[in-house]
């Protein structure tokens, strides 16, 4: 039987979130992929999304937006962002980036498909740059450098 040194609720959620990283149903999978791609830690990830590191396990245990279909993507992102007080656009951007990376890594992606993905990514980056220029200062939490 477990003794009195029970893990804290936070530690339990962290463990579960870690397990969920291997399950594409959960947002944890996308957060882990983004962290790895951007070579950032939880503190930077939390700052990017405008939440605290303590929020990350519960955030990670949300359903990953888009798992029901792309039509629900924005509704899912909005709901999660409202629940945790996140920067919704950044969460959406993070998910689009991870989707792109995962798609590009698919071994059977045809060259034409990859070209389309690259074009989509270029458009995405151009949009991000525009947004960054528009914001310039004042955005909560800095975007981690790639």
């Amino acid at each position: 039987m477990r003794n009195d040194n029970k893990p804290s609720h936070k530690a339990l959620l962290q463990r579960t979130a870690l397990r969920a990283e291997h399950d594409p149903f959960y947002l944890a999978s996308a957060l882990a992929a983004y962290r790895e791609a951007e070579q950032i830690d939880d503190t930077l990830l939390a700052a990017f999304l405008a939440c605290t590191p303590d929020d990350l396990p519960r955030l990670a245990l949300c359903r990953r937006p888009g798992t029901l279909g792309q039509e629900e993507f924005h509704a899912d992102v909005t709901q999660i962002a409202a629940h945790f007080g996140l920067h919704a656009d950044r969460l959406a951007g993070l998910l689009r980036r991870v989707d792109f990376l995962e798609e590009a890594r698919r071994p059977h992606a045809a060259p034409e498909e990859q070209a389309l993905l690259l074009a989509a990514r270029d458009a995405e980056e151009a949009k991000d740059t525009e947004e960054e220029n528009a914001e310039k200062s004042g955005a909560k939490g800095g975007e981690p450098s790639a």
Partner: protein, 217 residues
């Protein structure tokens, strides 16, 4: 402080509806509300479990699995708490049974190796030794056949042996059926009969040791 108390019925009902509606943040709230209380309850149910992480792993899996198929739960039959608790409990029991079977199998493999190495000419007696070790002669009179069958399935890994045992348990008497199970239908009929008899005799002795009596034998 940990929220160790199980959620109230109203909270459960609201959460379940949100899970059914596939709200993106509902799975997180499910884990948040149930993880601690379920772990506490199940650790109390299995106070002497050797692998402490087993309960944790299974509870986590239960909570990660449920949001994918919330329709499996019927609110008319039980509370969500009871459903999740029973789901995890079943998985823990299965895991413990599986570990037990694996341990027994390893023990038998070890015995197999020991006998094979020390007495290579007695390998034919090996299965009988295993049965004697696993199912002692002092089995009570009222032993159920299905119990013996379960034991034999664990002990005998050889597919042919199992097929012959199944035929006997089913009361099959035809030589043809046994010949088929033994894979000797291409042999001359006399040879088939001889081998089938030999196999039946072998099994008759085994059943006797297991305390099973067949009227037909």
């Amino acid at each position: 402080m940990l929220p160790r108390n199980r959620p109230a019925r109203e909270t459960e009902a609201r959460l379940y509806l949100r899970l059914l509606a596939r709200e993106a943040d509902a799975p997180s709230d499910l884990a948040d509300a149930y993880l601690g209380p379920l772990l506490d309850a199940l650790h109390s149910h299995f106070p002497d479990i050797p692998d402490l992480t087993l309960v944790d792993d299974i509870v986590e899996n239960t909570l990660l699995r449920f949001p994918k198929e919330p329709e499996k739960y019927n609110p008319a039959r039980s509370s969500l708490w009871t459903y999740l608790y029973m789901d995890a409990l079943g998985d823990i029991k299965n895991a413990l049974d599986s570990a037990k079977r694996q341990e027994r199998k390893l023990r038998l493999v070890s015995l197999d190796r020991d006998v094979a190495e020390s007495e290579p000419d007695r390998k034919g007696e090996l299965e009988e030794m295993m049965i004697r070790q696993e199912v002692p002669d002092y089995l009570p009179d009222g032993v159920e056949i299905h119990e013996v069958r379960a034991e034999v399935e664990v002990i005998i890994s050889n597919a042919t042996d199992l097929a012959v045992a199944e035929l006997q348990l089913a009361g099959e008497r035809k030589t043809e059926a046994y010949a088929k199970a033994l894979g000797i239908t291409n042999m001359p009929v006399d040879e088939q009969r001889r081998r089938v008899k030999q196999e039946k005799d072998k099994w008759r002795a085994r059943w006797r040791r297991l305390g099973v009596k067949f009227d037909a034998q």
